[in-house]
């Protein structure tokens, strides 16, 4: 029999050795081996193996009984000791739990936010197979013919639906009417693709007839109160009668699509809209692929689909998963994946800071427990028992902190909602994913906070700790310092980051956009306005407080999403590729917005040719086309060939996220969709009332809806603003937790050095010199933390700022300011405790020697 085969089986042997509950383990396992060899020799290996397994399994019950009894006894003892310790040192227990509770609460709230951001559009049953057709430049506005074409030409595509958002529209039922936004026009497939739970009506047929309308619960309640809306007729847009064929549950907020009522797209045909053209991009196209289709293969086939029908548009077409639309940084739809990362990191930092507090306080005060460890070891505790004990203590504290944290979240939820603009509810905390997340956070905290102290404490050697009183308090001092440095580095980093976000957002808001945006009121105008626009303008301008009226297709702020981009040709073009935005303006545009010309002239009524044969371009366009002398040159955008008559100074017609792009203006009254009215700051309500009166004369059935341009522009930076506020709150909390930590450490130091302080005072030291002496230690740590984190912070902030076309310079003063600020705050925290020790009467501290 060869050696390997005759060897003793490892698993039962190991088991036998490790679960015994008596002495003489060596002799015992020796006996087992001896008898095993004997049985193997006489009765064969099978018998022997069976024998040893039998022995091993038979040993389990005895072991189990014994260890359970003992562990219950020990846990009782551990618990008692732990609670005694917590109560004896109430201050430290408070600092530890409060820090952890705040840290965990922050984590939970951030997790709620992150989870919400990631959950966008995932509630659709087919979420994995749904896509939105997107151009390579990120635009989701596609030709109307795309949707039917994709469905008929490509077998992978099961359903398609177009999606067209409607402006505010009047809905009228009997004597009740509401001016309701949030309407969308879609194809019947839409209801099959997306999960929209119906409360009433049949989703299969609800959109089949072109005169149907589906209402959300909310709109149905507004219009019909408690009565049943199904089958009722309501008047849409003052002209069309529609039958209510369904009521659906209010559409969830965590979707990139938002609508309150659904109309069949066929309805648009009644407004003479061409629903099968490749000529213009004006509608979104949603696509559902067959299950398990590789989207890349479809992308490859459809990339040139628009170009095939409209050769001048070279942009590639691709399918973007709807679950990514909300997070994709290409779209400024609000939250982006970058912020999700940012907040996840932030949550981790805060938790880390809280855990460092715990580690520092526990290890610093380890000398208090050293005797206990020594005694436990002398009476027979193994290291693993002590690790278990101290780990259990941190678990206990973490659990208490978690309960507090959940209470905190409950209390702070309304505030948090206010800050984030979301609607988190208490019930959300009971979701499976969230519960798992919370458990994960608790576990992480326990491991981070508990592992090091329990390892350190259990390492004490009984002889040393029982004999020598002082040495243990120095244990881990270096490690503790490193942790404090880490803690403050993180705090400084967070503060610097917050400062930067704030300054950048402020800068964007206040930056000169190159045009006058104050006191400009704008509103949509319709065909009735366009018909006799000149008379209306004259009438408005006769009002003394109306300073100017400009008509255009799109007011300056919203171009990015709405303006059409076109290919451009010009005299002397070589092979530059230039995309240009074209807008339509009227003669008063320049003066109303306070723009400046750099070359040539603006449109003027004195030249009759301006209305048909003139472009005004911006400087960016001139640069892009590399023209030396643009005036008089011919320029063709799309199929419109005109002559350039002037160059306008660059202004930011988009959000400052983006750089100024080439633009051309033309005169075209049929495209006037918005009126921008410059009013004087004097007696604004009166002026607005005047405008409303005039509006009512033309559109008596529509309310007058206006907005101020500067307000709208402020709203563009709302995402950054909200994030900024949120980051600030969490940063302050992080700093607070850090300070709690050094508060604990400093009070411990003061306590430890009571005698030293007493002796110093007896020998003539002043209070101020003592404070200076003791707080120096902390000051040095904070300074080191600053110096370490500055380069890293600089690097990361630079990366963030690169996202913006127009940005602030980082500036050394913000570093210095933050550093000094943190130093002052930490010094104040520390000196409070030290001052108490330093002013104490030395007689008291030195009496017992």
């Amino acid at each position: 029999m060869n050696a390997r085969k005759s060897r003793i089986p490892r698993i039962p042997y190991w088991l036998l050795q490790h679960i015994c509950t008596f002495d003489n383990v060596d002799a015992y396992s020796g006996d087992i081996e001896e008898e095993f060899a004997e049985i193997q020799k006489c009765q064969g290996r099978t018998r022997a193996v069976r024998w040893i397994w039998f022995h091993a399994i038979a040993a389990i019950p005895q072991w189990g009984k014994k260890s359970v009894i003992w562990s219950i006894t020990m846990v009782k003892n551990y618990l008692k000791i732990a609670l005694r310790n917590f109560f004896r040192h109430k201050g430290y227990t408070f600092i530890n739990t409060a820090g952890l509770a705040i840290g965990i609460a922050c984590c939970i709230m951030i997790m709620l936010w992150v989870q919400d951001e990631l959950s966008y559009d995932r509630f659709h049953e087919n979420a994995e197979d749904l896509y939105v057709a997107t151009f390579s430049n990120g635009s989701k506005v596609t030709p109307t013919a795309l949707s039917p074409y994709l469905k008929t030409e490509y077998p992978e595509v099961i359903h398609t639906s177009r999606y067209s958002m409607q402006g505010k529209t009047l809905l009228k039922y009997e004597d009740r009417d509401i001016y309701q936004e949030g309407g969308v026009m879609v194809d019947p497939d839409f209801l099959k693709m997306f999960t929209i739970p119906f409360l009433k009506g049949n989703p299969e047929t609800a959109l089949d007839s072109p005169d149907s309308i589906l209402l959300s619960e909310e709109v149905a309640r507004k219009l019909f109160g408690t009565s049943d809306p199904i089958g009722q007729t309501l008047l849409y847009n003052t002209r069309v009668d529609l039958n209510v064929t369904g009521v659906f549950k209010d559409y969830p907020a965590n979707s990139h699509m938002q609508f309150l009522y659904i109309l069949p797209l066929e309805l648009a045909k009644m407004h003479n809209r061409n629903l099968n053209t490749w000529e213009v991009n004006n509608i979104r196209t949603y696509v559902q692929l067959r299950k398990n289709t590789a989207v890349q293969s479809v992308d490859a086939k459809i990339s040139d689909v628009v170009e095939r029908h409209r050769p001048q548009d070279k942009r590639a077409m691709c399918l973007q998963p709807i679950t990514r639309v909300h997070l994709n940084p290409m779209f400024h739809d609000g939250g982006t994946i970058l912020y999700v990362y940012l907040f996840s990191v932030l949550a981790f930092f805060i938790l880390l800071i809280a855990c460092i507090n715990f580690i520092n306080l526990t290890t610093a005060r380890s000398s208090n427990r050293a005797k206990e460890v020594g005694i436990r070891k002398t009476v027979g505790a193994c290291r693993i028992h002590l690790v278990r004990q101290f780990f259990g203590e941190s678990l206990l504290l973490t659990l208490i902190a978690s309960v507090l944290a959940i209470g905190l979240v409950y209390l702070c939820l309304p505030m948090f909602n206010n800050l984030t603009g979301k609607t988190f509810t208490w019930e959300l905390l009971l979701q499976r994913m969230i519960v798992l997340g919370i458990l994960g956070i608790i576990f992480l905290t326990m491991v981070m906070a508990g592992s090091y102290p329990s390892l350190l404490l259990s390492r004490f050697q009984p002889v040393k700790v029982l004999k020598d009183k002082q040495m243990t308090s120095m244990k881990g001092a270096l490690f503790r310092r490193i942790l404090v440095v880490l803690q403050f580095s993180l705090s400084v980093f967070l503060i610097l980051g917050t400062l930067m976000v704030y300054r950048q957002v402020h800068y964007l808001r206040e930056r000169d956009v190159g045009y006058d945006r104050d006191n400009i009121v704008y509103f949509d105008i319709g065909i009735r306005f366009r018909k006799n626009i000149e008379t209306i303008k004259t009438e408005w301008l006769s009002h003394s407080n109306i300073l100017g009226v400009a008509l255009t297709d799109i007011a300056p702020y919203r171009w990015m999403s709405n303006a059409g981009y076109g290919d451009v040709h010009w005299e002397g073009k070589t092979n530059q590729q230039v995309k240009m935005v074209m807008i339509s303006v009227d003669y008063d545009y320049l003066d109303t917005f306070g723009l400046k010309m750099t070359q040539g002239r603006f449109f003027s009524k004195e030249y009759s040719t301006d209305a048909s044969d003139a472009y005004v371009v911006n400087q960016a366009a001139v640069r892009a086309m590399e023209m030396d002398d643009p005036i008089g040159k011919e320029l063709r955008v799309w199929d419109l060939k005109k002559r350039i008559i002037g160059v306008i100074e660059d202004y930011h017609f988009e959000s400052l996220h983006n750089e100024i792009i080439p633009m051309a203006m033309r005169i075209d009254p049929s495209w006037y969709l918005q009126a921008c009215v410059k009013i004087s700051s004097h007696n604004i309500p009166n002026t607005l009332a005047f405008l409303e009166d005039r509006w009512k004369e033309i559109y008596p059935e529509y309310p007058f809806e206006y907005r101020f341009l500067d307000e709208t522009i402020q709203n563009q930076y709302r995402a950054e603003q909200a994030i900024g506020k949120l980051v600030t709150v969490f940063t302050i909390l992080a700093l607070f937790i850090s300070c709690l930590g050094i508060l604990g450490l400093s009070s411990y130091t003061a306590e430890q050095r009571t005698k030293e302080i007493g002796i110093r005072k007896v020998l003539g030291a002043t209070v101020s010199s003592i404070i200076k002496h003791i707080s120096r230690e902390f000051v040095v740590l904070v300074v080191i933390a600053n110096i370490i984190i500055w380069p890293l912070a600089y690097f990361i902030m630079n990366r963030w700022l690169e996202r913006f076309a127009y940005r602030i310079s980082i500036g050394w003063w913000s570093f210095v300011l933050t550093g000094v600020g943190v130093l002052v705050v930490s010094l104040l925290t520390v000196s409070w405790q030290i001052l108490r020790a330093a002013t104490a009467n030395p007689v008291d501290s030195l009496r017992y020697e």
Partner: protein
């Protein structure tokens, strides 16, 4: 002096009879031989512990051998106190069983 349990008695008797060769394997065999049934090692070693604690037996280490994976044997010996305990047990047994022989049982059956 505490009374011996049946198992303790059995183990002590095995050790006594084995004299200088009383270690695990041999003891187990002896116990089986005189007690009529097999015991697991962990039961026996727990009993050794009990007997040691009661002060009835003591041990000494033998030389390590390769058959035992390099582990030493532990030999057990009965101490004076142990002999006294066995004696007590013996006396008790004789008292309990006094006047009883196999004939007594046979008579009961018939």
């Amino acid at each position: 002096m505490k009374e011996l349990t049946k198992l303790e008695e059995l183990v002590m008797m095995a050790i006594w009879r084995l004299k200088d060769d009383a270690y695990g394997v041999k003891i187990r065999k002896k116990v089986k031989e005189i007690g009529g049934r097999e015991y697991f090692y962990n039961t026996l070693y727990t009993t050794f512990d009990q007997l040691t604690r009661k002060g009835y037996i003591t041990k000494h280490f033998g030389e390590p051998s390769s058959v035992r994976g390099g582990k030493r044997k532990v030999f057990f010996h009965i101490k004076k106190e142990g002999i006294r305990a066995l004696e007590n047990a013996f006396k008790r047994h004789t008292r309990i069983w006094a006047g009883i022989d196999e004939e007594s049982f046979r008579r009961e059956y018939s």
